[in-house]
Symmetry: C2
Subunit: 545 residues, 2 copies
């Protein structure tokens, strides 16, 4: 087993299993750039190891349709054209991506059902076990190998009363546990949280209360686009209270359309309306479901908050349900939106409006107790989560040496006799910026960082090829350094500094371009630092004629 992502981090989940000549991949996710990845759109796993072993890959198996499990597929499939297996909704969301990347004709998709088992290569059998998560059609994986059975939970929670279907297949896990499981790989995201998550239905109760309490007001619910069950609950409440539903925000519209076409939503006739019809309805006849619950600046809720939304002008007394909690790192962005909403006099409902999709401690204990694995490998989490999850396993009676905290790239070899890290393969992150995949590296990021801090100053001059005499310039131009009006005297002084550096080079007989540049750069940097305590990038450009 080799993880290429999702260990020591939240996101870009990807795990490789191999036996003999066969190799399978579980999930293929992206992660979002951290604050220091300036200008980067998204991050995908480094798959050097997979491209070196193309011929051995029997397929990619998906646990569910969230971006951190399927988002890297279009990029990875360009390198590895292998079949993709998943449940109906998961594959439909993959197909939305493939259409966008014009890859529908070249990609084999195989739709499976919860409960199905497939054979991959001669070594692997995969069972898709019914699970619960914050997106419909999620599965855990049972993976049969010649040395034993593995269970990979994917992302999961235990919901005894989910909106669609039933609780995750506890009976099957119990059965497998009884037969003997070699290793459990389990979601660690919420291991830091005590107790048991409430059921998704609890949120439905809150939503119903809001509809009862604010009968005369316009109600708007912001949540994650992919949370179909949440959307269903808003639609159910709307129907019960005789309101029409408008769906707002591109990703929300896309996912609701896909889920509806496939029968994952139960939408009573004439309940949905188009966003351009909103103004035909009175406040008490309307509810909107929309994106932006994480404060994303371009999403529907933010645009409303900052009065930039085309269809909706918020007014005092509008009821806004924030049906999500801020993902770590988004707290300030969400606060910003909440402040604007409050200034507009809207009523903001944030309590009991969300439940997490990730198992907390008591749910994790249940899975450990049912599966009773020989080895335990915590996945999907930062280091502190993985560590806490192994501690939880040990508390439940597992031998400490049978728990393994891995890093991405570690090669874990296991069989009934033992389990150990036997090597490393290339692994890491590949940055996607626009059309470029992997063409932005540390040097570019460092330059962007420096540019973002103090901007840059360019010194341009034309010198005569032989004599190195100045024919034109030096000109000094800055960007992102200092406000132009303030800069003029400083820039004029800077020109004189450069002129002195050039004179100095002439006097000293310094004639190599690189030496001249280096003198100019050093002198100017010292001057600028003394004057401003700033360190812009300084770029001397010499033209010769």
């Amino acid at each position: 087993m080799i993880s290429l992502g999702g260990l020591g981090e939240i996101g870009k989940n990807m795990t490789v299993f191999e036996y003999g000549e066969d190799m399978i991949i579980v999930d293929c996710g992206l992660s979002f750039p951290t604050d220091d990845m300036l200008g980067i759109d998204l991050v995908i796993p480094d798959i050097t190891y997979l491209t070196q072993n193309k011929d051995r890959i029997r397929g990619i198996v998906l646990t569910h349709g969230h971006e951190d499990h399927i988002g890297a597929l279009p990029y990875i499939l360009k390198e590895l054209n292998v079949p993709v297996y998943g449940t109906q909704l998961t594959i439909a969301l993959v197909e939305n991506k493939l259409i966008e990347h014009k890859m529908m004709n070249t990609t084999t998709r195989i739709v499976v059902k919860q409960g199905d088992t497939i054979k991959l290569g001669s070594s692997f059998k995969i069972e898709f076990i019914r699970s619960n998560h914050s997106i419909a059609d999620a599965v855990m994986l049972g993976i049969w190998t010649p040395v034993g059975t593995l269970i990979h939970t994917g992302d999961f929670k235990v919901d005894y009363t989910p909106i669609r279907g039933s609780v995750l297949d506890l009976h099957r896990l119990a059965e497998l546990g009884k037969q003997g499981v070699l290793a459990l790989l389990a979601d660690s995201t919420n291991v830091g949280k005590l107790g048991h998550n409430p059921s998704e239905r609890k949120v439905g109760e809150t939503i119903d209360k809001v509809f009862n309490q604010y009968k005369d007001r316009r109600i708007m619910v912001a949540t994650f686009a992919s949370n179909i069950d949440r959307v269903q609950q808003v639609i159910t409440a709307a129907h019960k209270h005789n309101r029409k539903v408008a769906v707002l925000g591109r990703s929300m519209v896309n996912i609701v359309r896909t889920a509806n076409e496939l029968g994952y939503l139960d939408i009573p006739e004439k309940t949905l309306i188009e966003s351009n019809q909103i103004n035909r309805y009175k406040d008490e006849e309307l509810v909107t479901i929309m994106t932006g619950s994480q404060g994303e600046p371009m999403a529907a809720l933010s645009r409303m908050a900052f009065s930039e939304h085309k269809q909706i002008d918020l007014k005092p007394g509008d009821v806004i349900v924030l049906s999500s909690t801020p993902i770590p790192g988004n707290e300030k962005t969400v606060s910003k939106v909440v402040n604007e909403l409050a200034k507009k006099g809207t009523i903001i409902v944030r309590e009991d409006t969300h439940v997490s999709g990730h198992a907390t401690q008591e749910e994790l204990k249940l899975i450990h107790a049912l599966v009773r694995p020989k080895y335990f490998i915590p996945v999907h989490g930062e280091y502190r989560h993985l560590q806490q999850h192994t501690e939880l396993a040990v508390e439940l009676g597992m031998e400490k040496e049978n728990t393994m905290i891995l890093s991405i790239g570690d090669v874990l070899e296991m069989n009934a006799e033992g389990c150990k890290v036997v090597g490393r393969v290339p692994s890491g992150q590949v940055l996607v910026d626009g059309l470029g995949v992997g063409d932005v590296g540390n040097v570019v990021l460092r330059d962007r960082k420096l540019l973002s801090q103090d901007g840059l100053i360019m010194v341009v001059m034309t010198l005569e090829r032989d004599s190195k005499a100045v024919v034109s310039g030096p000109d000094v131009i800055s960007r992102g350094f200092v406000y132009v009006r303030e800069a003029e005297p400083l820039m004029n002084e800077a020109k004189r500094v450069v002129q002195r550096s050039l004179d100095h080079c002439q006097d000293q007989g310094i004639v190599s371009w690189s030496e001249i540049k280096s003198v100019v750069k050093d002198d100017l940097r010292t001057f600028i630092w003394q004057k401003t305590r700033r360190n812009p990038i300084i770029l001397p450009i010499i033209m010769e004629i």
Copy 2:
């Protein structure tokens, strides 16, 4: 009353009161740059209004020594040389700043004691009322004016068993409340939190437990440098358990020295050791107190976590007490440090290790109930906090129209008959970058933002003055755009694009520099976008000879 900072935001607190010809200023704080203020060091209030009224200002009165209440002083005092009033520790911390800015000789400081009353101008009398906060020597202000008494709480909490002194002066507030208070201005930071803060002593109990539990291990406590009482509790525990204390981190060392000199710390003899003596002591003989509890990259704790600290190498089993909770926005930075600490095998203690310095709901209610003001103005908070604080006041029986949510710059006029906003004065934020105060504005920030996203491409060429013929170049140079090895073919193609643009200009008889630049810029931008879906800043530079 005019607020120049601290309303609709957390930070840069500054409030102006005026009557007739007299004007006084309460606090003079800075705030830290938000994520979009690239390269900015700190933010101070816009004091245009004050510089226009220099002659009327009778003094600056400080409530306590935190940065968001005193941090802008060195910058503001350069514009307004007025006397500064505060309690002993507050003035000492101000003096540390004045020394750094070489302003000790030009600034008048007046030290007052809790309970003192001073007269400012002919209209104002200020009483310094004993308070509790997460820094010693904090005061609330009673402000006597010809139209009535105001109370400004500053930052406060209610601690019945503080480490130094006693609970805030409830009796005085009760007395003032009985005499009649025109307006209350009160801290809103924690209005969203239910209940009552525990006493600072609770943290002491946790610290003592940690000392008892980990008798053989090295213990390190990270907290805010300015929390003298927290430092005292660690020192007390260390003395009790026969450990030496080393103070690490520049700001921690400075504040501990200042507080100790003034008698705010009770340090038993031979308890403190210098950081370079650490290695002479065994693990069980040592405790460190240090900066970095917010994950600040340059602070002691981060440097240890990333193995960059000069004196301390962390080892498995070291006990790290994180004695603070992440300030909103710092969650990810703190997680990063915690993950590194966990990887090193250290034991991390985070529970019951911190109490807030800001009053929660029940404490706020107590102050409202004691003071019984005619008008209420919530201060120190984002809009949602101010709003929630007025709701709390209304719940306690205040008329809604007697509560005022203000914005910075609003001029609030009040007397016994009424209270209303009658105008606006200039207000806002001034960005400090290095030595520059206010020389980085929106244009520079926008350029830094663009540079940080996709970098920049420079096109440099030398043209003959009259014919506009190319004498040298065009050269194309990029920074922060794309990795050089990948860029070469692209840059060569870009050169050809520029060459074609120049040819086009020649053909069309376009001869003005600005037109040529504009053609080159547009053509190259289109080319780069098509090839990469990126939008770097494009900067054509033409030299003429």
